[in-house]
């Protein structure tokens, strides 16, 4: 139940976070942008993949679509319209992809989504080279770091709110049932295909918006930057670390991992992927259900 106290707490937290850029250096604001970006990605990813257990590696496909939409249209359309357009394109791609793939089970879905990200990247590259005759694009939007951060913070707040509402609604129950046993869910009256599709599109649309909002940060983009598969893997590992079945899980995983990866890529740029791989293995073996579940388990164990 939402008590007024917890509502007030959320309001205080959001306004504190919103005021942070006034007290931080440019570097600090840059960190906040990256962090809120990944927290939003991981939370949005877990909206669909957490309860259904469909592990998607298509995150960067949508992220890149968002960034590219901004790069292509930011000079000809007003910015809010560009964001809407990005959301519409991301959502549409997700709907088409979802309709054709959400029947795939387990590992086939993982492989397909990974392939999808590559396919989108290759298609954009081909288009830019052969049709428009460029590879990279410049983005000139009059945004400072804090403007980008505020947009991400707003998107994150909305995403958390959506996640909270889903958790209390019929559709949240349907998702959990689907994650447990699709056949039983269907025999109980749940439209399994539609439920998965709605959540996949919702999750992908938010992910697209993260890419769109972050794009101006780069000034110059090209496919290898915005379609970098590391984004998909990082999002996945962050959500898994915190626990994708809980609303706060992805955030709990994303914040420390983001900081760790920042530090690693600054200090050991060549060994970054080794650390990533090791961390993956560690998480899967030590706490496959995430930190929050682990803590709950420890607390329960102590209580007994």
């Amino acid at each position: 139940m939402p008590t007024y106290a917890s509502l007030a707490l959320v309001a205080v937290a959001v306004s504190t976070l919103a005021a942070a850029p006034f007290y931080l250096s440019d570097y600090g604001v840059g960190l906040l942008i990256g962090m809120s970006g990944y927290v939003t990605l991981a939370t949005a990813w877990a909206l669909f993949s957490g309860p259904t257990r469909y592990v998607s590696l298509a995150t960067v496909a949508f992220f890149g679509i968002g960034a590219y939409t901004v790069a292509v249209f930011s000079e000809t359309l007003p910015y809010p319209l560009v964001l809407l357009l990005a959301a519409a394109i991301g959502g549409t791609v997700a709907a088409v992809v979802g309709l054709s793939t959400l029947r795939l089970a387990g590992v086939y879905f993982v492989i397909f989504t990974f392939g999808l990200a590559e396919l989108v990247r290759q298609t954009v590259t081909w288009w830019e080279v052969n049709i428009t005759g460029t590879l990279g694009r410049y983005i000139f939007l009059p945004f400072e770091g804090r403007h980008i951060y505020w947009q991400l913070l707003a998107l994150l707040t909305v995403t958390m709110l959506i996640g909270w509402l889903i958790g209390r609604s019929r559709i949240g129950l349907a998702l959990k049932a689907i994650g447990d046993d699709e056949a039983v869910a269907a025999h109980a009256g749940i439209d399994v295909t539609r439920t998965k599709l709605v959540l996949f599109v919702l999750s992908a649309t938010i992910i697209t918006l993260v890419g769109a909002i972050q794009a101006p940060r780069w000034t110059y983009i090209e496919p290898s930057i915005v379609f970098n598969p590391t984004v998909s893997f990082l999002t996945l590992i962050m959500a898994l670390l915190g626990g994708p079945m809980r609303l706060w899980g992805p955030m709990v995983g994303a914040v420390p991992l983001f900081l760790l990866f920042e530090w690693l890529s600054a200090n050991f740029p060549n060994h970054f992927s080794i650390f990533l791989g090791l961390l993956f293995i560690l998480i899967v073996f030590v706490m496959p259900n995430g930190v929050l579940a682990k803590l709950e388990g420890i607390r329960k164990g102590a209580a007994q």
Partner: protein, 242 residues
């Protein structure tokens, strides 16, 4: 008597195996009909086709005048056909109450909120799980999981219930309770197709029986008559006992 379910020329192949071959029968409202036959004779496959888990290769299923053939399982559930599974299939990450709530929320009349919680509690009480709603299904004994599964099936408020060996694995006193539960359901006006091996239960519950062997119906009629027929005994027990 009103016709509840009509199954006509139902057919299912798995590769070269004809699992269900030209099966025809109908159920009248309020009946409990036994579907009998040795293991592998195609009983579960028939239930799977009625409930939409499997697509029939041929034939039709008509329920209260609505064609169910080729409809999706969730549509069939919403039309008022519920089922249990031969091997219990609880939703393991949900609580007992949530397992039952799923069917209330998405079944025939779509209940939610306080009202649904009350209904869940009533159903749990009906199957003998009162006050157990907050438990994890994993903590339930096998029998209690079966009770929970019955409550979940009933929570979609069906008028036709397909029970696949729901009474199997119960001890004698549990069996007695189980039989009484099913009788209560009949009293509430639910039509039941009962796949069952336990003859005591079949005799106590079923007015009529349909016997399958190797995908085909080999006998059907009033229970007392059917259970004495020579080929039925043969199919079940082999030559020695005939």
């Amino acid at each position: 008597m009103t016709l509840q379910l009509e199954v006509a020329n139902l057919q299912k192949r798995f590769g070269g195996l004809v699992a269900v071959n030209d099966v025809n029968f109908s159920l009248q409202a309020g009946e409990i009909v036994g579907l009998l036959g040795p293991n592998g004779s195609g009983k579960t496959t028939v239930l799977n086709m009625i409930s939409g888990a499997l697509q029939a290769d041929g034939g039709r299923v008509v329920f209260r005048g609505t064609e169910l053939t080729r409809q999706k399982p969730h549509r069939i559930a919403q039309h008022g056909v519920a089922r249990t599974f031969q091997l219990v299939r609880p939703l393991p990450t949900l609580t007992v109450a949530e397992n039952v709530l799923v069917s209330f929320a998405f079944g025939r009349y779509r209940h939610w909120g306080r009202e649904a919680e009350k209904l869940v509690e009533e159903k749990l009480e009906f199957v003998g799980l009162e006050g157990r709603g907050r438990e994890r299904v994993g903590n339930l004994t096998y029998i209690d999981q079966k009770r929970m599964e019955l409550a979940r099936a009933l929570a979609s408020e069906p008028s036709l219930l397909l029970l696949d060996e729901w009474l199997a694995g119960l001890n004698p006193s549990e069996l007695k309770t189980g039989i009484e539960l099913v009788q209560h359901l009949q009293g509430a006006g639910i039509t039941i197709l009962l796949v069952e091996h336990i003859m005591e239960a079949v005799r106590a519950l079923c007015t009529r029986c349909i016997v399958m062997n190797a995908g085909q119906i080999i006998a059907s009629g009033p229970s007392a008559e059917v259970l004495q027929q020579k080929e039925v005994i043969l199919a079940y027990l082999g030559d020695d006992h005939a």
